[in-house]
Amino acid sequence: MEKTVVLRVNGHPNSVTIDPETPLLYALRNHLQLNGPKYGCGVALCGSCMVLLDGKAQPSCIMPCSAAATHEITTLEGIGNQQQLHPVQRAVIDLQAAQCGYCLNGVIMCGKQLLDENPDPSDEEIREALQRVLCRCGTHTRFIGAIKKAAVYKRQ
């Protein structure tokens, strides 16, 4: 049964008419036309669909819209844009940290949460924060470097 659900995404309320069981990911991508969160596994094992729920990085592929409605949702689009990049986005671009880039959403969202909580993380802490994100292209070491660089940008 479809219902109207109000999702607060990137600071704005959005009414969507949807089966409330639908995982948040599909509402974000198809109803709200956002591209940041992506489908990778659907079972919280790859991190492609990462969003911030009240500031914490969480997979959006397993959370039903009905539950998501109680949270403040932020997607990749909500943390920065091409004109005003978030420091993590800027560092990723500066260090050319991507191959296919499909995993980048998860890396950036987890990186953002980490830097919000820890302005000067060690390599080990960065690895820990990105552990939920899978990258098949093997861009890991560049991502770790990018988060380090972003920490510097953020402190400046």
Binding site: M1, E2, I18, D19, E21, T22, P23, Y26, R29, N30, Q33, L34, N35, G36, K38, Y39, G40, C41, G42, V43, L45, C46, S48, T75, L76, E77, G80, N81, Q82, L85, Q89, V92, I93, Q96, A97, A98, Q99, C100, G101, Y102, C103, L104, N105, I108, I126, R127, E128, L130, Q131, V133, L134, C135, R136, C137, G138, T139, H140, T141, R142, I144
Partner: protein, 739 residues
């Protein structure tokens, strides 16, 4: 250079078809992925002719250069490298350069983007076309400015007469018209020592789009009226659908159409999640005739070894066996590699639209043109009624589900005219149906004389095919085999992929025999094909020989190589890791291992040192660091080479330490990341890569050079640390004798 792929006869309706779909593409959100298209290209529906300059490059009235390539972007940064080549040859600034990737309606036919060959093939063609265009443009400028060609200088797309200082831009010369002329291959090319763009670390523009959530991937494409679909895949290879109750989708909402053709079933819905739910219902209600998947996995390698009926001698040398038999030291070992997956992070996806008797398919295929011909076979439609537009997906690393999902989408779209149908595979579809890298067995024998000198090497290997790409035959699609009137899969001739790099580059007598086998699982091209396992075997074996000869393994390799470029990469990693010092003062709990290969024995040279740390109490090991050196000839984009090499090293470490497909008689067991884990951040080693640039030498692809050597280097490091020789991939700690 590829030959002209289509004849000139070109109906008006076909032209309209191309124009419409061209506009469709331009009108919607995927456009930013392609960069700004110059109007010259956007309006053109002209079929490509490989020898016309116009096939490869166009300059519009604003001076914007558009490069057209039949290759596709797979995350390897090929777009940027090809743009650099054209910009360099024409002296046009990179900001005014754009690129269109494989599109059967607009670009040249360059078959597959594979084998790390795009820089050599497409790059070579684009360089020749750009040089030819420069010659034509300079000729036009000479007439315009009334000075001889040799007195003209070009900067930023503007031609200036050295004497009079009068100038004219390329755009003003062409006034929006195409560059006339054919590519002769004889136009003078720029001296590589004068390069200012090629060889630099030019940044990829697409990374900014990716990092900010712009639509970049086929998964992000949204067309008006687009509907969603999922496929009900059989539970095991060859299963036939016995029955599907009429109410099989339950009363799930949003269902537009349930399509069934034999054992091929797809459901089309308005919302994406509705299709997922409907398929879950179908999975529970469908009744299948299921053949058993045999032989059982524990008998897999024996099953391969028994197949000797279809063998070929790759290189024959009758002196090899006697030389080994007479050697004072003989060594023999058998190495194994399991089935492994591509494992794209984004499962395969395609969109198809059937409208006015013409079919358009957006796909992340590696071969837009071969996909078109195979769809033509599947649907019995003429190729001229089909257009395939390559659109980037997640990294694929070879032949994954991309072509299959294109067929799925096309079959469904044909049943729903006028609506774009988007099919996205689920994770388990990709894990269980993509064609894997084949399981392989390699048996090596070698002989050493009493001074430890290498006398001869004999290799025998067993492998299923490494190439079952569609290539025009609908039986190569999963869906093709499931139809009411099925197409049968006929394995093509076995390709050279199986014995890639089986022939040792070392300066010794050598013989290689390949046994072409049929394994139980679907297999095709996975990054580096057979080279991965063959190099793992050969470079592990070289280590065994060095050990037997009582020689340092790096020194042993150097002593048996003649090629200076091969030696240079080895010496570079030795220096980077202080190899000699560290071999002398062996650190407890640590092991270093080295390996080397020249990819395909004729492309990039790569050497690597792996460093492992063992934890005897926990019976575990950790890969601490990989140090690599690559020589890929003339470097087009130094950061691109580094990035691809680093990625290949990490990916190979994951394959080599963790990965194997598991199955039982009911089907594939490893259907997700829980059962088929890959390397995560906490286990990733530190990486250091040196690029040996060779200006003036043929540029060579770098994408696959690291795969094999990394596997062997880790195994060799484990031998040094533990004394156990691990000859079966993946290199699981359980294989180590912890004492």
């Amino acid at each position: 250079m590829p030959s002209p792929s289509q004849d000139q006869a070109f109906s008006t309706s076909r032209r309209r078809f191309l124009q419409q779909t061209g506009q469709l593409l331009i009108g919607f959100s995927i456009l930013p992925a392609l960069g700004k298209l110059s109007t010259a290209v956007a309006e053109s529906g002209t079929p490509p002719f490989a020898d016309a300059i116009n096939t490869w490059l166009r300059i519009d009235a604003d001076g914007q250069l558009t490069v057209l390539t039949g290759k596709t972007e797979l995350g390897q940064g090929i777009k940027t490298a090809l743009m650099q080549i054209a910009a360099e040859e024409l002296d046009i600034p990179m900001k005014n350069v754009h690129i269109v990737i494989a599109d059967t309606g607009r670009t040249p036919d360059e078959r597959y983007t594979a084998g790390s060959a795009s820089i050599e093939s497409s790059g070579g063609a684009i360089r020749e076309a750009a040089a030819e265009a420069r010659r034509v443009l300079l000729g036009m400028a000479a007439t315009e400015l009334k000075v001889p060609v040799d007195q003209l200088l070009v900067k930023d797309g503007v031609v200036t007469a050295a004497t009079s200082q009068q100038s004219v831009s390329y755009a003003a010369l062409l006034k929006g018209k195409a560059i006339e002329g054919t590519v002769t291959g004889k136009a003078p090319q720029k001296d590589p020592s004068k390069y200012t763009i090629v060889g630099t670390a030019w940044p990829r523009e697409d990374i900014k789009l990716m990092a900010t959530g712009q639509p970049v991937y086929i998964q992000d494409m949204r067309l008006p009226d687009m509907v969603h679909a999922r496929i009900l895949r059989p539970p095991v290879y060859g299963a036939k659908l016995k029955s599907l109750p009429d109410n099989a989708t339950g009363n799930a909402a949003g269902i537009i159409k349930l399509v069934r053709n034999g054992s091929f079933v797809g459901v089309i819905t308005r919302d994406e999640y509705q299709a997922i739910k409907a398929i879950r219902n179908l999975q529970q209600k469908a009744v299948w005739d299921r053949p058993l998947l045999l032989p059982a996995q524990d008998g897999l390698y024996d099953h391969l070894l028994q197949q000797t009926g279809n063998s070929e001698v790759v290189e024959r040398n009758d002196k090899v066996e006697p030389a080994i038999a007479a050697a004072s030291n003989q060594v023999e070992a058998v190495y194994k590699r399991p089935y492994q997956i591509h494992g794209s992070i984004g499962p395969s996806c395609a969109i198809a639209l059937w409208q006015n008797n013409e079919l358009t398919v957006w796909s992340h295929t590696q071969g837009a043109f071969p996909l078109r011909s195979t769809l033509s076979d599947l649907l019995r439609l003429p190729e001229t009624s089909i257009r395939v537009i390559a659109t980037p997906g997640a990294g694929c690393y070879g032949h994954n589900g991309a072509d299959d999902v294109g067929a799925d989408a096309a079959l469904l779209a044909m049943q729903l005219p006028g609506k774009p149908v988007r099919v996205q595979w689920m994770r388990e579809d990709e894990h269980s149906w993509e064609p894997y890298g084949s399981a392989m067995v390699m048996r090596l024998k070698g002989g050493l004389d009493k001074d430890g000198k290498l006398l001869a090497l004999h290799t025998e290997l067993w492998s299923d095919t490494h190439s079952s790409r569609p290539g025009g035959k609908a039986g190569h699609f999963i869906a093709g085999r499931d139809l009411e009137q099925p197409f049968t899969f006929t394995a093509g001739r076995f390709s050279g992929g199986s014995y890639r790099n089986a022939l040792p580059l070392y300066d010794t007598l050598r013989q290689v025999v390949l046994n072409n086998c049929k394994g139980p699982l679907r297999s095709s091209a996975l990054r580096s094909l057979g080279a991965y396992a063959n190099i793992f075997a050969l470079e592990s074996f070289m280590d065994e020989l060095a050990h037997k000869a009582g020689k340092d393994p790096a020194r042993f390799r150097l002593d048996n190589l003649k090629d200076d470029r091969a030696k240079a990469v080895i010496e570079t990693v030795m220096k980077m890791t202080q190899w000699n010092d560290r071999m002398e003062r062996r650190e407890p709990q640590r092991g270093l291992g080295i390996a080397f290969a020249q990819y395909k024995n004729d492309a990039a040279y790569f050497a690597v040192v792996a460093e492992v740390e063992i934890d005897t109490a926990a019976k575990q090991y950790r890969l601490k660091k990989l140090t690599g050196a690559i020589d890929a000839g003339q470097v087009i984009n130094i950061d691109g080479v580094k990035n691809q090499t680093e990625g290949g090293m990490i990916q190979s470490a994951s394959w080599s330490m963790l990965e194997s497909v598991r199955y039982h008689e009911k089907g594939i067991i490893t259907r997700g990341w829980d059962t088929y884990p890959i390397m995560r951040f906490k286990s990733v080693p530190a990486i250091e890569v040196a690029v040996l640039n060779r200006p003036g030498m043929e540029p060579m692809g770098a994408g696959e050079a690291a795969q094999g050597p990394v596997a062997a280097a880790i195994a060799n490091a484990l031998f040094q640390a533990t004394g156990s020789r691990l000859r079966e991939l993946p290199l699981r700690p359980a294989q180590i004798n912890w004492k």
